[in-house]
């Protein structure tokens, strides 16, 4: 257990370092641009607002929040303190709603949609890839081109095609939103039913997108692994094929787990765009409305939240990986 602790501590340290860097980037990037950031923000903000007292209030809020007259370092401390208090300021486009409130209502939709979808897509993709590598012949000839084609499909393209076929033409599912348009989120059966009926289309479009790339990766990993010496040796020894294949796929699987940790950021990016196509009330749609409303505080908060989500997911996968790969044990005990 001691070795695992070392591994996990190592990963935890890395997680903290990345987290700090992400926060710094979120702070620095917008300020690297030429010109006075708050003036630019104010210009954008006031362009979208009609109420004069609202403009005044946002301005006061901002001078206070950013403390623009203070040196950069103090501004940063202020920024970090605000984040830890969960205070992201007040939204420009949905004034006077606090940003934290908007993010809070959107984040669960995204988490409940994307993570199950990515995991399911990953599982199906790996199974198909492994089967393609093992069965070869006809199965491989079908799965491979289809996977290549699907993995090249832009995330939004897949979402639109599913939407047009199943929602617009066949009318099996609603075209947009995360729940019935006549509903206010609550815990009635009717509301839950509308949530369920809105779920499958965005879910499957994300699943389909993640399948292709994973299948291709798993196929080449498995082909490589099937030709390694230990497999040939085991065949000579007369060990049953079934048993060998079990080992082969376990070994081929491990890089795929790391692959998932590394590519989860990209996948989330694609899924965010898919959300927009369905006007799913998650973070992707929030970004779009924030961009359209020139809502700087909202964008800054949403990007930070997405980064944190991805970091936590990566960390979790790393931890799981440490438990399933026996070589980690060996590497750490050296």
């Amino acid at each position: 257990m001691k070795r695992y602790r070392k591994y996990i501590l190592n990963k935890l340290l890395w997680f903290v370092v990345t987290f700090v860097c992400a926060v710094i980037l979120n702070f620095v990037l917008p300020r690297l641009m030429p010109g006075d950031p708050v003036a630019a923000i104010m210009q954008k903000a006031t362009a979208g607002m009609t109420s004069q007292s609202g403009v005044q209030k946002v301005y006061e809020q901002y001078t206070e929040l950013f403390g623009t007259n203070k040196p950069m370092f103090q501004q940063f401390l202020l920024y970090v303190r605000n984040i830890f208090h969960g205070d992201f300021g007040i939204s420009f486009s949905q004034y006077p709603r606090p940003v934290a409130d908007i993010v809070k209502s959107a984040i669960w939709w995204t988490i409940c949609l994307q993570f199950p979808a990515i995991i399911v897509g990953w599982l199906i993709g790996n199974t198909l890839g492994a089967l393609a590598a093992y069965l070869k012949k006809g199965f491989d000839k079908v799965i491979m081109p289809v996977s290549i084609l699907i993995s090249n499909f832009p995330a939004f393209g897949m979402a639109i095609i599913l939407l047009v076929i199943f929602a617009v033409k066949l009318k099996w599912f609603p075209t947009s939103g995360g729940y019935g348009f006549d509903q206010i989120p609550n815990f009635s059966w009717h509301f839950i039913w509308t949530v369920i009926i809105h779920y499958p289309l965005p879910f499957f479009s994300i699943v389909l997108i993640s399948i292709g790339g994973q299948a291709i990766g798993m196929r080449s990993m498995s082909i490589y692994e099937l030709n390694v010496d230990y497999v040939k040796y085991s065949r000579f020894l007369g060990i049953r094929d079934r048993k060998i294949v079990g080992y082969v796929f376990r070994n081929a699987m491990l890089p795929q787990v790391t692959g998932l940790a590394l590519s989860i950021g990209t996948m989330v990016g694609g899924a965010l765009v898919a959300e927009i196509i369905y006007s799913y009330p998650g973070l992707g749609t929030t970004i779009l409305s924030a961009v359209l409303g020139q809502d700087y505080p909202l964008i800054s908060a949403v990007t930070l939240i997405i980064t944190i989500m991805v970091l936590v997911a990566t960390f979790a996968i790393d931890i799981v990986y440490g438990f399933i790969d026996p070589r980690i044990k060996a590497a750490q005990s050296d």
């Binding site: 980037l25 641009m33 290549i148 047009v164 617009v168 082909i223 950021g265 970004i287 990007t303 980064t307």
Partner: protein, 416 residues
């Protein structure tokens, strides 16, 4: 070198991908020469004109007329005004209005129209009918007027002095014009989009711009990735640690987040296509850097590199002559992938509303963005978004096919 290229062109996958890509590239280059004009010119007043041949009505009336006696003309005319759905909807209305269902035959046009004219009354409201349905029946009723009449139509001019209408000519139902003799005919193979622009023309231009964006993004990403990968892999030590720290950092921090932050900060007015391309390049070098580093690390201690070191060659010389040629194939493959990734990223970014500014050039992503904002997908205006999706998919499919082909040539283990 010549041998390698020959080998590459023997790979069927590469050849297919290459042909698709070349076909797209040729279209982008040749089509504007064949159909000149500003791709962003707004020609349609109104949104989403369906694809087809547009014939000027005014010119048609003034073109020479030919009489063709075609038996199916009347049937075609009725069919174009009265579809199967319309007939069934009429039946529904008649049934709701109290006529027994057995007496209604939707396929018998004369009888159906007769029953319709006698029964339909725009002012009576039937129970349970939505407003949209009421309006639908009103439109249907208006379009049915005079459907079965056999007379022609008069064309009249207003007399400028008296203000009275004066018939100048009459058109019978058997009159035809030859489309070659009509002065103004415009083919819109993919209709128009929400602003009233010719979709095909815009699409060709947008594909060109998107390819350029992909190319610039790919070049930037490959250059940064290659440089960092070479430095980290060859020099090693503290340089390696620092570079790998940043590489790992940017692997976990999602690229889309950086893109959103940077492009939002640049601001709508300063976001040109090239700026976006460079930004995309700056956020997607990570994979190239990782891969190049891994390759260089395995090359670093090969005999020929050590020999070169002993001969006193400079680091630059060693990297250029002893290392680069070995990873060149890999870098080319990564470059191809970066191009297609750049095109996809631009599209995603544009859908988020953070693409290049809209006034100068179209890009594939911007076309998608507009189609989505105008809800083309829900209105069933497939020509506004489907060609764009297909183009993006084809471009990236061809690139990936080329890549797989190259992979099989350079990595014999992957060959079947």
């Amino acid at each position: 070198m010549k041998h390698t290229i020959q080998q590459v062109f023997h790979s069927p996958k590469f050849v297919v991908g290459f042909s698709i890509f070349m076909a797209i590239l040729l279209t982008v280059l040749v089509y504007p020469l064949l159909v000149p004009g500003d791709p962003l010119e707004i020609i349609g007043q109104g949104t989403f004109f369906p694809p087809g041949v547009y014939v000027n009505v005014y010119d048609t009336l003034r073109s020479p007329r030919y009489t063709l006696m075609l038996d199916e003309a009347t049937a075609n005319r009725i069919a174009s005004k009265l579809s199967r759905e319309d007939r069934l909807a009429m039946k529904d209305y008649l049934v709701a209005a109290g006529i027994p269902a057995l007496e209604i035959d939707p396929s018998n046009t004369v009888k159906l129209l007769d029953q319709w004219v006698n029964t339909y009354d725009p002012d009576t409201e039937l129970a349970g009918m939505t407003f949209a349905k009421v309006r639908y029946y009103q439109r249907l009723d208006a379009s049915l007027e005079g459907l079965l009449s056999l007379e022609g139509i008069s064309i009249a001019k207003i007399d400028p002095e008296t203000g009275a209408l004066k018939e100048t000519s009459a058109i019978s139902q058997a009159d035809f014009v030859n489309i070659n003799e009509v002065a103004n005919v415009r083919v819109l193979p993919l209709g128009t989009e929400n602003f009233g622009r010719d979709v095909l023309k815009e699409l060709v231009k947008a594909t060109g711009v998107s390819l350029k964006i992909g190319l610039v993004a790919g070049l930037v990403a490959t250059f940064i990735g290659l440089t960092l990968g070479l430095l980290a892999g060859y020099i090693g030590g503290i340089v390696d640690d620092i570079i790998m720290f940043f590489t790992n950092l940017f692997t976990v921090i999602p690229g889309i987040v950086l893109l959103i932050l940077i492009s939002f900060s640049i601001g709508q007015d300063k976001r040109g296509a090239v700026t976006i391309a460079v930004v995309i390049g700056f956020t997607s070098w990570v994979w190239t850097a990782r891969a190049v580093r891994a390759q260089v690390v395995s090359l670093r201690n090969r005999d020929h590199v050590n020999l070169s070191k002993l001969s006193g060659h400079s680091i630059a010389h060693i990297i250029l002559t002893d290392i680069l040629p070995y990873i060149a194939s890999y870098v080319v493959m990564a470059f191809i992938l970066q191009i297609s990734l750049g095109i996809l990223t631009e599209a995603s970014l544009s859908i988020l509303g953070l693409g290049p500014r809209t006034t100068e050039v179209p890009t594939l992503g911007l076309m998608m963005n507009w189609a989505m904002i105008y809800q083309a997908q829900i209105l069933g205006k497939w020509w506004a978004y489907m060609p764009v999706i297909v183009t993006i998919a084809l471009v990236s499919f061809s690139m990936n096919l080329m890549n797989t082909g190259l992979d099989q040539v350079f990595n014999p283990a992957l060959r079947e």
